[in-house]
Amino acid sequence: MHIPDGYLSPQTYIPLFGVFVSVAAVAVKKVKDEVSARNIPYLGMAAAFSFIIMMFNLPVPGGTTGHAVGSAVIAIIFGPWAAMLAVSVALIIQALVFGDGGITAIGANCFNMAIFMPFTAYYIFKLLSKNTTGKSRISFAAFISGYLSLVMAAILTAVEFGIQPLIASTPDGKALYCPYDLSIAIPAMAIEHMLLFGIVEGIITAIIVNYFLKTEPTLIYAFRNRGKNE
């Protein structure tokens, strides 16, 4: 899901970079208000976790590879704003140091995996875990949150790829950037994430949320203010 350099037109990556910078500015303010100093080490670990989990490339036999991102579990436990910053740091270091994801696509990749994904995951989890304290219901909510948020982020990435031939082509119909249109990009990205990578993201999310529920339940951001505004 890491878009490399040369696949997105400037008309796509410049606005997305703008969105990323604006949201990051809000996230800094939110994290300042919401996160207490004793939880600082967790944020570092969350970023490192996201970095490491993305190294586990899994094959779709006969096809391509992909991986989980970790955004969903970070959003549930530390909040979507903290997840935004943590996953962005991981993505930027992947781009700068390891060439995984383009530098021109940093805004787009952060938008997909560090903004869209954690917020989607967080609200799906809140919705599904509403009014319940049952362990299995919460695990289920966590799984679906991880699964759907990754699949939806993959589809969003596919839309960014797929609109390129419409935005930028030569007069003789050759693409300037990503050569595949929406009709190819969306099924390709959606199916592999639905069949494998989404399931992995879901399982990771459920296991870790469960673990924190047992050991450090007061830490879980998604369960804060429970009963107050629900």
Partner: protein
Amino acid sequence: MLSETGVKMNKLQKKILVILLLLCLITPIGILLPAYFNTGDAWGEWSAQTVKELVGYVPRGLAKYSGIWKAPLPDYNVKSADRSIVHKSGYYIVSGIIGATVTYVVMLLISKLIIRNGE
């Protein structure tokens, strides 16, 4: 590293750090499994050369931008000329530990800059 950043850790945090380190040590799964199943690149992450094989030409913008950035450790590899899967696994672990440590420290520093409440 812990004392440098001056952050005190509780038991759970120390445990998570150990788990993260262990995860780094098994990252080669992420290159061995795809190699075993002989799968290609992630969708949309092909090199310009591979795109040419797929669609018959290299899009002009792709040709222009694809080499714009020279990452110090491309593809989580230290020596890209070394084709041995065992060596590659070792480089992958080293890349994982370097990358995760840098990510951890950068995020820690950013968080410390941002957060000053609740001591």
